[in-house]
Subunit: 503 residues, 2 copies
């Protein structure tokens, strides 16, 4: 357009997360000439770079006309600092938003349309409300098989891909989550790579849970590595345990995940595309997927789990990756710890074969490792099980884990929480059930996963028989406000533990 009057950048120092915000004074000549008002979408440009931003109009005198304030993410993406010069104009139309509206109106999207949406999201052309609209109408079984395949491929094609030139077979495992303390990944990776499988594992941070594997691992060693770093660690150890977000494997997914988290939303098609796109981008050829089933897990019935397995297999096949789904018990917490540090404690206990290691965490890790070994060696599950157990019990897995930790900067000392509060059982009885969703929410309210030390340590689980006054769990937090907030939630939701007088 015509108006290329230069504006001087002011670094507002405001963290607006992923949505770039520009601030201009109401009387700024460009603002007036272009007819910009609050919420207008504008294109901010330097000589080398363009950025779509949302305008917040400033009406007092903190910002002079002739200046343009930029939020942190806007500065970062545009590569400018205070005092630099930019020009602004009306934002061009984002054509793929027409496809989002098409989906809103109940029509399916073609591969090309999915590509266009993912490309625009990964290029940061979508506002948060636009991503929210897209995710909402893709949730609740609203994506058909072709759309999930299209979405998966589209997510892959707008990110980086890792090549493993000397390895024709790359293994991976993934848990679709929803089960507090189900932190098998580091143990499975240690066992599988000790057995000679190449397993370059990248994990995500929590979406709606109190901790993602990457959140937990980060308390043990560095997880932020680029592709070069991953390749070096895998060369040295046969495996790695890194955060997927740092390698930019699926940038569109990373942007969507935050909105999913804020909306507390987990779409099924989105889930499959998110998981498989990251596996494909990471160069994986064989993947074991853990699907925990339970009344209060993410997947509630066996039928749902079968349906999801079927989808995973079909989408995997269409995208050239071999997928084996393992349906596991999701009726109770797996480890005793919930939250990054608490889960790390459990992982170390299992790897070191300590007496207090949570039994269920050990059992599940062995079962998943056995499936990976069977997928690799085709020797049957029984053989896989005994191999996995040998590797864990002989200490080979723990040695292998320490090797990986060294390659990733060395084991850290786990931090201690500032505040803790022991909750006890008010009446004697047996724990018949634990509501995973509310338990997860409790840990989140205490500050997990942002506060690494925040979380829960269970002192009893489903089946435990308790006397009045016996400890049920300890709540940890780093902030008194969040501790109070969590405690208030627990006071109103004590029935998340179903305790029945034992006969």
């Amino acid at each position: 357009m015509s108006n290329h009057e230069p504006l001087v950048v002011v670094a507002m120092g405001i963290n607006t997360h992923q949505e770039p915000i520009a601030y201009m004074h109401r009387d700024c000549p460009v603002c007036r000439a272009e007819g910009f008002s609050a919420s207008t979408r504008i294109l901010v440009s330097t000589e080398d770079c363009n950025l779509l931003a949302t305008l917040d109009v400033v009406e007092n005198h903190t910002l002079s006309p002739g200046h343009i304030g930029l939020s942190n993410i806007a500065l970062e993406r545009l590569g400018v600092v205070e005092g630099d010069i930019v020009v602004v104009q009306h934002a061009p139309l984002v054509h793929s938003l027409g496809f989002v509206r098409k989906k809103i109106h109940g029509h399916s999207l073609s591969d090309e349309e999915m590509d266009a949406i993912m490309q625009d999201i990964s290029d940061h052309r979508y506002r948060d409300i636009e991503i929210a609209a897209f995710l909402s109408v893709c949730a609740g079984e609203r994506l058909n098989l072709d759309e999930i395949i299209g979405l998966t491929r589209a997510m892959v094609s707008c990110g980086k891909r890792i090549e493993w030139s000397n390895n024709p077979r790359i293994f991976d495992k993934h848990c679709i989550g929803g089960l507090p303390g189900n932190r098998t990944t580091p143990i499975v990776v240690a066992i599988a790579s000790a057995a000679g499988l190449t397993i370059p594992k990248s994990s995500s941070r929590a979406i709606t849970s109190p901790s993602g594997t990457a959140d937990t691992l980060e308390t043990l060693f560095d997880v932020q590595f680029g592709i070069d770093g991953m390749q070096r660690i895998v060369r040295e150890t046969g495996a790695c345990l890194v955060w997927g977000g740092a390698v930019n494997l699926s940038p569109a997914d990373d942007l969507m995940v935050r909105i999913e988290r804020e909306l507390d939303l987990d779409g099924e098609g989105q889930l499959i595309a998110s998981v498989l796109s990251k596996k494909i981008a990471a160069g994986s050829t064989h993947v074991v997927i853990d699907i925990p089933v339970g009344e209060t897990a993410k997947v509630r019935t066996l039928a749902e789990a079968d349906y999801l397995s079927g989808l995973f297999n079909r989408v995997g096949t269409a995208c050239g990756i071999q997928v084996r789904c393992v349906i596991t018990d999701g009726s109770r917490p797996v480890g005793n710890g919930i939250g990054p540090v608490q889960e790390a404690i459990d992982i170390l206990a299992v790897l070191r074969c300590e007496a207090q290691a949570p039994v269920e965490l050990r059992k599940r890790s062995l079962e998943l490792a056995a499936n990976l070994l069977d997928l690799a060696n085709n020797t049957g599950l029984e053989q896989g099980r005994s191999l996995a157990q040998d590797i864990l019990d002989s200490g080979q897995a723990w040695t292998q884990f320490q090797l990986i930790a060294s390659a990733q900067g060395g084991l850290k000392t786990l931090p201690k929480p500032d505040f803790s509060s022991v909750m006890t059982c008010t009446e004697a009885g047996e724990i018949r059930a634990i509501d995973n969703r509310r338990l997860a929410r409790l840990a989140k309210l205490a500050g997990a996963p942002n506060d690494k030390v925040a979380g829960i340590r269970l002192h009893a689980n489903v089946g435990s028989i308790l006397k009045a006054g016996d400890p049920l769990f300890t709540l940890y937090s780093d902030s008194p406000g969040e501790m109070d907030y969590a405690l208030e939630y627990y006071r109103q939701n004590g029935d998340m533990f179903l305790i029945v007088e034992s006969g």
Copy 2:
């Protein structure tokens, strides 16, 4: 919660539209103690008032720890000014968001769930992304009849209601829009009230169109009146022509409409609930609804229009209001003007029976007035038609319109645009079709409806036979940037006029 350390309010002067934003320094003790980070939802409180806000964390030194910046809407809703003291804590859970997730997952919502959502939206407890999620999953025929009824009632119950104690029958008309220049309302209201009907008309501003009736009327006289004002005007004249938003009839709808506009979304259930809730809240008992049908209108086929009429009737009946839908020709622009001021020019021409008055605008206004008169008097449509025509042609309608204008502060002089640009026909031929959607977009790109003078004056319409060089339309704008933007769009979309060599 525990942390009630006072913070000093800083008026940031930032217009963040309807979503209240709070700004706190990263090192603010409250921020640290409570574990707040960017995008955390917080509750800001004075002694009398609470407000949910989204946190933007400030990382430089524009804001000292111990202070809290508030955006304009946050200051306004909380009723505070710079220097006042507030306390903050974690936002309480908004329970009705669970119902939004339920809808996202494809389940229908009960009346109580709709009530809870509308109440929370109208109490400003939803973030923009949450409203976007709700609207997206309600669009595209995803609300069933009971849900639309529930939504309509819920919208009514969270707003004000107008009582018309001495009038058992209150009339109203509404056009569902989508047709540029279809500004019949002021003419219909003038005719109907001249015939003795009580018709207190409140209109909306544009959602996705270049002008809403309220935007157009505002160029002629004041439209911002409260309920007292409306009642006075109706006492004096039997009618009024005001903006519905100023009387707070449906506060939830007003908040949703902005997000619908930003997403360029028009949900059918949302549409019905939005229209009828405002009519019911306004105390109407009889409503005529104009549904224009055309390939590029909001409703594209007769079948769709019938379906929509059926829904309007059923929801109306369930909510105790008599609805008559009139399906009209939506294949071509109705008036010659598009945009607030240009449409006002057409309205005056029809009311004054001027020679250049757009024929179609006059015809449709008469037909809708005839339907209202028939609904009122039960004398048949023919009788209604001749009565309506008498009132218009005798000048009674124009006299009545001036009476209403006087009661609303008097007729204003229409402003003139700063920039205009005449587009001509490049090749001789007949206009076979005009794409209403792209024509509307062109007017919007020129700045309508925010810039009152921005818009289009058509010099030809469907059926016109033109020579090369004949004027097709004039584009008006108040800003060179928007004029350029619109012209560029027209250069790429000249085929919005389908001109065929005439034989």
